[in-house]
């Protein structure tokens, strides 16, 4: 199999097609537009349909309908567009409908800017809309991973009957890297014995999330929570990079995760025992990564493109047993590896040679 050069957004679109996604509903917005553009060009050739909806709210509700009928379906947008979709996403969670949602995060609040950012971490990992629910949130850090995780997102959505969010940024979406176009793995997924695709010859089914009796509503909440607990146990993912013997840890995902790898390599050249935990699932947050590596750790720095959001999950994961600091850039700016290493040296009082 040979590699092809693809933009991150195109890698997402290609992976969706190869995962059997037949329907895409969306409304274009920079920096996610290449997804709908690529699919509009190629999905019809593969027997699917792309529909540019009149707005984001319509698009997410079209996804509701398609998923309820049993189709593999995706939508994509960027931050302000994802905010508009939140009501629909909440309904997807309540009705346990498998939809893949892509957020190519742009800066906020408000209309914001187009640069790379991770300012939607809270919105993504805490549910986002109203009600007590969670999305499975995947955080790729390069084009190949955008491809692989998009493909897998459809299986995770079907396996747990839950919406899955892919969270990336404009830098990852626009950058071109070689991608190996792997074929779909034939997974062992549960039959969709709930889909509403016509009841001729079988009992009627209903997909709804309205409870007039509190006892029934609580029962539903408990069922959802049991599912989320199961996901928390089974699906935490992360990459450990020089973490086994580390005395200090960086924690970063997506674009920051890959920048942090360069920081770690530079630190190691100077004899500093720095390692990295790169969360791949943001929800469930990879708490287990911290229990398995924890003994020799003296301090942690999270590297984020926001005012400090993931740092809360890191502090919870380590029970505040060691100092956890934040290195951040905002507004679409990216940190350089040198400034991160300098910061690590400053907060932990470690010597850092100038041009690391």
């Amino acid at each position: 199999m040979s590699k092809v050069l693809l933009k991150g957004n195109e890698a997402i679109a290609e992976a969706a097609m190869r995962a059997g996604c037949k329907l895409f509903f969306g409304y274009p917005i920079t920096p996610s537009t290449e997804i709908i553009e690529y699919l509009a060009k190629h999905l019809p050739e593969a027997g699917g349909t792309v529909l540019q909806a009149e707005c984001e709210v319509a698009a997410i509700n079209m996804c509701f309908g398609a998923a309820a009928a049993g189709a593999r379906v995706m939508t994509a947008s960027s931050s302000p567009g994802i905010s508009l979709k939140q009501e629909g996403i909440s309904y997807l969670a309540a009705n346990e409908l498998p939809v893949v949602i892509v957020n190519i995060n742009r800066t906020g609040p408000g209309l914001g800017g187009l640069g790379p950012t991770q300012s939607d971490y809270f919105q993504s990992t805490r549910g986002g809309g109203h009600g007590d629910y969670r999305l499975i949130v995947l955080a790729p850090s390069k084009a190949q991973e955008l491809y692989d995780l998009t493909m897998e997102a459809f299986d995770l959505a079907d396996k747990y009957r839950n919406p899955v969010l892919i969270l990336a940024d404009g830098f990852l979406g626009q950058m071109m890297e070689p991608v190996l176009l792997k074929e779909k793995k034939e997974g062992n997924l549960p039959p969709k014995d709930w889909q509403t695709d016509g009841c001729k010859g079988r009992a009627k089914r209903k997909i709804a999330s309205y409870f007039l009796v509190n006892e029934l509503a609580e029962e539903a909440c408990q069922r959802w929570q049991a599912k989320y607990d199961q996901i928390k146990e089974a699906e935490q993912r992360w990459e450990s990079f020089y973490a086994d013997d580390a005395e200090y840890l960086l924690v970063g995902y997506g674009t920051c995760g890959r920048i942090a790898k360069s920081v770690v390599l530079n630190a190691r050249k100077q004899g500093m025992k720095l390692g990295l935990i790169r969360p791949i699932t943001l929800w469930p947050f990879p708490v287990k990564a911290f229990t398995s590596h924890f003994d020799g750790i003296k301090g942690i720095v999270t590297v984020e493109l926001n005012a400090g959001q993931m740092i809360e999950d890191v502090k919870l994961a380590v029970n505040c047993r060691v100092p956890v600091h934040l290195y951040k850039r905002q507004g679409g700016m990216l940190p350089h590896e040198r400034e991160i290493l300098k910061f690590v040296g400053q907060v932990f009082n470690l010597p850092v040679r100038g041009e690391a």
């Binding site: 187009l114 940190p335 040198r338």
Partner: protein
């Protein structure tokens, strides 16, 4: 080994195309590569730029602070990127339309009248490829044969005549 290359010019001068050729050359040579466009409102202004990182090992940070090499096709790009080349690096300057009112003595500056050379070849839009030719000997990881393969992949199949034009321009740049 790594080559971090900055490419800049007016929209329409084929900056993204140089980047694409470099990226394909690297990929067809089984190297790692990142092609990073500047995106957003900047693209509608005076300069278009992209950067390419070529490497024989996995590329982690794609953030280029100081580049090893660069090509600037117009004056605004020269002004903006002269300071972004690392000491010891190299900058190819399209001297046909760039008046070099400043310089640096800690980098190698290759001033080449790429616009004029392209005009002599008979296609003014090939200044970008002339500059790529001039830069080639300075790159650690790609050589002419890989660039030829990349050209064939990107334009050769659809427009064979463009392949010849581009290759001629690259060779002119290499010779000068």
């Amino acid at each position: 080994m790594m080559d971090k290359v900055l490419l800049a010019g007016f929209g329409g001068q084929g900056v993204m195309f140089i980047g694409k050729i470099l990226a394909y050359a690297a990929m067809l040579g089984s190297l790692e590569v990142c092609w990073i466009p500047s995106y957003g409102p900047e693209m509608r202004g005076g300069t278009a730029n992209c950067s390419v990182i070529l490497s024989d090992e996995e590329i982690h940070s794609p953030v280029i602070d100081q580049a090893d090499a660069g090509i600037v096709l117009n004056k605004p790009s020269f002004d903006k990127f002269l300071t972004r080349i690392r000491p010891g690096g190299v900058l190819v300057v399209n001297s046909s339309i760039i008046e070099m009112d400043k310089t640096r003595d800690d980098i190698e500056i290759i001033a080449i009248p790429a616009g004029d050379i392209a005009h002599e070849i008979g296609n003014p839009s090939l200044a970008n490829m002339v500059c790529l030719g001039a830069l080639l000997p300075k790159l650690k990881l790609v050589s002419l044969d890989k660039i030829e393969k990349a050209l064939d992949e990107v334009v050769g199949k659809k427009k064979p005549e463009l392949y010849e034009w581009n290759l001629t321009a690259i060779k002119k740049g290499l010779e000068s």
